[in-house]
Amino acid sequence: MSMEPNAVLERMRAYFERKQPPEVLATFGTQSPKALLPDSLDVVDFILYLEEVTGCEIDINEVGEALMNKNFDELADEVSRRLAAR
């Protein structure tokens, strides 16, 4: 399954719709996953959500580095690339 980075980003943003204030959502792509997912269980819940909306299993360890060091734009690129490689 493939999905464009923008589509992945939009689905990621939807996860935070009622969880984050409008100013955070307005600049969502530049936000840090580490800041918006402060707890390991938040990370797990987010990944499970992503698996559901992309229909594809995501190895949390594979995207762990992106979750730690990149913003959501870059994470969406990473996920999109991994989905296309399946």
Partner: protein
């Protein structure tokens, strides 16, 4: 039917939060003889393993100085003795008050090796509560499922053995290997914490007791030898099969075990689940229709203590038992080494 009449837990050592552990581990990773790309990958992996608010108890006074076999084995013995003394101090007055002696003592640990074993050392601290003709058994190399395997063993013993004591002592921080370069070694470093617990299992139920209704065992010796095991360098180290194989096989085996036992758990919302692989458990729970709240006692334990190997599920069971009304059941799930899964169900009797 046998009943868990009392659960004793010991919380010793110092609390180490992720926030406190991470800079120490990062410094260790910086010193490893690795190509830069591999170092960055390992550092990010460690950061990811330690994301969020989580802590563990560490009984070893200075784990960073552990290195030789001697230092690790000695740390295990010293810590295990502290745990046994703490548990004995709780067990003795309770057994005295109940007017019982123990017909058998069963111990379990996967994180150290002592001779004489833990059962012998606990009995030594319980004086006359363990008679000279009482049976003493030490289970070894059983991993995180050890305590429920011990319960399973206890329930099959002859009814003439009326009171059985089970003790689980785990000191996984004696295995911390900061010189390791593989991801699974560091996953072990980041995952575990020290802990211990004991159970008094009797043939006569007491107030607050938990009747042991069911224990189901699924082992996969055909395919599971490499999934979770000890490797070794100067001492034993935590080792996993590659992540994909691990995830797929473990999920399949745990799912099968729980599916087979579904009639027993589907109407019972309380779960004491060994806190390993929270991601995996959440996926399985979703698949089997187990509500997310069912994982909550395990995730709460994991946040506070991390994974205490075989002692964890007993801590979680004790917490749940306190709020379980008479007649309600608690489901037990443990999984670990090689690959084994145990499902059990206990029910509050009165």
């Amino acid at each position: 039917m046998r009943t868990i009449n009392a659960i004793y837990t010991a919380e010793l050592g110092e609390e180490w939060t992720n926030e406190r552990v991470l800079p120490q581990f990062e410094a260790c990773v910086e010193r490893l003889p690795l190509p830069e790309a591999d170092r960055v990958k390992l550092r990010d992996f460690v950061r990811f393993q330690l994301v969020g608010q989580r802590a563990r108890r560490v009984v070893v006074p200075d784990w960073a100085k552990l290195g030789t076999f001697e230092s690790r084995a000695a740390a295990f013995e010293e810590g295990a003795v502290q745990f046994l003394e703490a548990l004995a101090a709780q067990i003795s007055p309770a057994a005295d008050a109940a007017g019982i002696t123990f017909d058998a003592v069963i111990s379990t640990t996967a994180t150290g090796n002592l001779m004489p074993g833990l059962s012998y050392r606990l009995a030594h601290r319980l004086g006359g509560l363990v008679r000279r003709d009482s049976m003493m058994i030490d289970l070894a190399n059983v991993g995180c499922t050890g305590s429920i395997k011990a319960v399973n063993l206890a329930r099959t013993l002859d009814p003439s053995m009326k009171n059985i004591l089970i003790v689980a002592v785990e000191m996984p921080t004696t295995l911390i290997d900061t010189g390791g370069t593989t991801l699974d070694v560091w996953q072990g470093n980041c995952t575990f914490g020290d802990g211990a617990a004991a159970l008094w299992i009797g043939t006569e139920p007491r107030e607050g007791g938990l009747a042991i209704e069911d224990i189901r065992y699924r082992q996969r010796v055909d395919t599971g030898l490499e999934l979770i095991r000890w490797a070794y360098r100067d001492y034993y180290t935590f080792a996993l099969a590659d992540q994909k194989t691990f995830d797929e096989n473990v999920r399949e085996i745990v799912s099968q075990t729980l599916s087979e036992a579904e009639s027993g758990w589907k109407d019972e919302p309380r779960w004491a689940i060994h806190p390993a692989g929270i991601i995996l458990l959440m996926k399985i729970a979703r698949k089997l229709g187990i509500p997310t709240e069912a994982i909550q006692p395990s995730t709460s334990h994991y946040r506070r203590y991390s994974n205490m190997s075989s002692a964890s599920v007993l801590h979680i069971l004790r917490d749940l038992a306190e709020t379980t009304p008479p007649g309600a059941a608690i489901n037990l799930v443990t999984m670990g080494a090689g690959f084994n899964v145990l499902y059990g169900r206990v029910r509050r009797v009165k």
